[in-house]
């Protein structure tokens, strides 16, 4: 226990959790702890989760990823005690789930941890509104209050006016919104989602991912999200845990998982993202925003950066050929020296990538540089930029902003800086613009 004042540093803490199905779980457990492998103990039972430990911070989206049968569902069901664990502990806040049962466990489920299911798990004989209010009904909230609350939540997930319908009358995506509303209604801090979007078709799925991300930004829920889809994991996850055969083989940020896979298994997972090979820089790039003409001089460059609220800018020449990048610090220094020629401080002139470059090849460069990658056409003209966030969003096949991506038309001056409503290439967090999505 640490003695610092304030909220606990973890919303959820799993310590050495084991789950073994079968006849002799305790014997299997002992063998596993003695260093035997999952295969060795197969005769004693199925080791579905082996020695899992992790912490989830409040407000974090923690994604658990792994192939079918790797133990994801088993793991998430131990977090709210739907499955009793064979060994280990799960702390929700200060409560150890593994030590309580019956009424106290139900209390935790009502107040602290709710769940969204893969196949929605709505009550087919109840209306959408009654479904959304179900968690509150269990908590004993009176009808008027829970109806009001559920109506509000249905509105939040974009289902205003559907309250009187039955789940069977809704599309899959809408049903899952009801499932989400039901979980949100219970006002728990922690949300468990087991392949919540896997049963939806790709377009709806992308939609739901965005909605979840913005909901999370608004409500600050702690979310444990299970998926076997890397794109989804990359898009949603603040951190990702990769599971294999019951064991967590790596926990890290999406960047870390992509660039630094712990082993061949994770690496092959990452490679599986076919679209990184299919997609090219040209297909995901966005309009470069901070762009200055090399003839404009230092003061013009500084003005542009201030207006765009960025700390760097692309530099192009009269033919819109990409010449390099300047940063605010160096421009300031240049002005201090009484100089104005940007050519002196140009850097990374060779960093431009062709619009034909596969996304796969952009990862390394994008991670190395803290500015977006300039994208040039076959004549060397600047046509777009790929920010790191764009790259990650592209993995989820989701535009990183809600605006349409605008590509600079050849012949149009890229040096103009009136693009205030266009996506910012140096903006720290494009998803911050999505607050008004719902």
């Amino acid at each position: 226990m640490n003695s610092t004042i304030g909220p606990p540093s973890s919303a959820l803490r799993v310590t050495n959790a084991f789950k073994i199905f079968g006849r002799k779980p305790q014997e299997a457990l002992k063998a596993l702890k003695d260093g035997k492998s999952r295969k060795d103990v197969a005769a004693l039972g199925t080791a579905a989760v082996i020695d899992a430990s992790f912490e989830v911070k409040p407000g974090e989206i923690f994604v658990v990823m792994g192939l079918s049968g790797s133990g994801k569902s088993t793991l998430i069901r131990m977090l709210n005690g739907l499955l009793p664990m064979t060994s280990g502990s799960v702390h929700v806040g200060d409560t150890d789930i593994s030590k309580i049962s019956g009424k106290r466990l139900r209390q935790v489920r009502q107040k602290s941890v709710s769940m969204v299911f893969q196949h929605f798990a709505l009550l087919p004989h109840r209306t959408v509104l009654e479904n959304a209010a179900y968690a509150l009904e269990i908590q004993g909230v009176d009808k008027k209050k829970r109806t009001a609350q559920a109506t509000k939540m249905l509105e939040t997930v974009g289902l205003t006016g559907w309250g009187d319908k039955y789940p069977g009358q809704l599309s899959g995506g809408m049903q899952q919104r009801v499932g989400l509303a039901r979980a949100l209604c219970s006002e728990t801090d922690i949300l468990l989602m087991d392949e919540a979007f896997s049963a939806l078709d790709p377009l709806i799925r992308r939609d739901m991912q965005e909605q979840l991300a913005s909901l999370q930004a608004d409500l600050g829920k702690t979310i444990i999200f299970i998926t076997h889809d890397l794109n989804e994991a990359m898009f949603l996850g603040d951190r990702i845990a990769v599971m294999r055969d019951g064991e967590i083989v790596q926990i890290g940020t999406p960047d870390e998982i992509l660039t630094n896979p712990a082993n061949e298994y994770v690496a092959s997972f990452v490679r599986d993202v076919d679209r990184t090979r299919v997609l090219t820089a040209g297909s995901v790039m966005e309009n470069p925003r901070a762009v200055v003409s090399i003839n404009g001089g230092a003061r013009a460059a500084l003005l542009t950066m201030r207006e765009q609220q960025t700390s760097g800018s692309f530099v192009i020449d009269r033919n819109r050929n990409f010449r390099g990048i300047v940063t605010d610090r160096e421009v300031m220094a240049l002005i201090d020296r009484g100089d104005s020629d940007l050519t002196e401080i140009l850097t990374r002139a060779d960093d431009a990538v062709s619009s034909e470059t596969a996304l796969n090849d952009l990862f390394g460069r994008s991670v190395e540089s803290n500015t977006p990658l300039p994208v040039v056409d076959e004549k060397g003209r600047l046509v777009g930029a790929v920010a790191r966030a764009t790259l990650l969003a592209a993995l989820g096949n989701v535009p990183s902003t809600t605006d349409a991506i605008q590509i600079v038309e050849p012949g149009q001056s890229a040096g103009n800086n009136d693009g205030s409503q266009q996506p910012a290439i140096f903006a720290p967090d494009p998803s911050g613009e999505k607050g008004g999505l719902l």
């Binding site: 709210n80 739907l82 139900r106 209390q107 935790v108 489920r109 009502q110 941890v113 709710s114 769940m115 299911f117 893969q118 196949h119 798990a121 709505l122 009550l123 087919p124 004989h125 179900y134 968690a135 269990i138 908590q139 039955y166 789940p167 069977g168 009358q169 809704l170 599309s171 899959g172 049903q175 039901r182 219970s186 468990l192």
Partner: protein, 282 residues
């Protein structure tokens, strides 16, 4: 044919067991008998006292409410035919028998099915017992029933109940076990108690299957009630039995036809129960 090698006197054991029961539990069975006679007499009174057309109107209204005008019309015609064949009173006696037996069978078998669905241990006991009860030739129940309860409608009702228990328990267990486990999990995940999950999720979702079981109970009861007519149960069963012993073709046809009409009515009405209030799930 004598069996020289070895003979297991199962029948004798059963007989002495039964003797013991009669001697020691006589009071209990008197109570059972009183209960069923009252129950039956009450229901029979309700069905036979009003003029026949009033009963037909009520039954047709029920059919209309549950299924629609087609079944209402068909039922009206069917019951008029029964009346026309002079089997109305018999049919109402039989209906009362069937309803008493089915109600009691439902009250016993549905909770049994629920218990079996909730606990595999209970299921392991209930299943073979139900199989036994249902496969034993129905006539066999009549013997102890007669000895314990005397002649009249009651032994028939009790034998009918025992015979009809199995589908009720079996369908209920099946229905509850096949409720989508994710939906049950949802109830658990939001902190619902097991009783609440049973009441609000499992029973409502298993209802169509349970209703199919109840339909089976009623149909089995009807077939058994005719057999019960042989032990003085009266009603259509009595008429069929009388026709058989007297080789009375007209009575046989008329009472037999009435059983068929009653069966169709009961089947359609209870089958429609299992479809009421369902919302198609995607």
């Amino acid at each position: 044919m004598a069996n020289d090698l070895f003979r297991i006197p199962v029948g004798k054991w059963a007989e002495s067991g039964l003797d013991w029961v009669i001697e020691n539990l006589g009071a209990f069975f008197d109570g059972v008998k009183a209960f069923f006679s009252q129950f039956y007499a009450g229901l029979d009174w309700v069905l036979t006292t009003p003029p026949f057309w009033a009963v037909i109107v009520v039954l047709a209204a029920l059919a209309f409410w549950l299924k629609g005008w087609k079944l209402a019309l068909g039922s009206t015609i069917g019951f008029l035919v029964i009346y026309g064949m002079n089997q109305w009173e018999n049919a109402m006696h039989t209906l009362a028998l069937v309803l008493v037996a089915s109600m009691v069978a439902v009250i016993i078998s549905v909770p049994l099915g629920i218990a079996a669905a909730k606990s595999s241990a209970v299921s392991r006991v209930v299943k073979p017992v139900m199989d036994f009860l249902q496969t034993m030739p129905a006539f066999v129940y009549l013997i102890p029933a007669l000895l314990l309860l005397g002649v009249g409608p009651v032994p028939g009702i009790v034998a009918t109940i025992i015979f009809a228990l199995a589908p009720g328990a079996r369908f209920t267990e099946l229905g509850i076990r096949s409720v989508d486990s994710e939906v049950v999990e949802a109830g658990q995940a939001f902190g619902a108690s097991p009783m609440r999950i049973l009441r609000q999720i499992q029973i409502p979702l298993a209802m169509p299957t349970i209703m199919a079981g109840i339909n089976q109970i009623i149909m089995l009861s009807l077939s058994m009630v005719v057999i019960a007519g042989m032990v003085g149960g009266g009603g259509l069963g009595g008429a069929v039995y009388a026709a058989l012993t007297g080789l009375n073709t007209p009575l046989g046809v008329e009472s037999g036809l009435s059983v068929v009409i009653l069966a169709i009515f009961l089947d359609r009405v209870t089958a429609s129960l299992s479809k009421v209030k369902q919302h198609s799930a995607a």
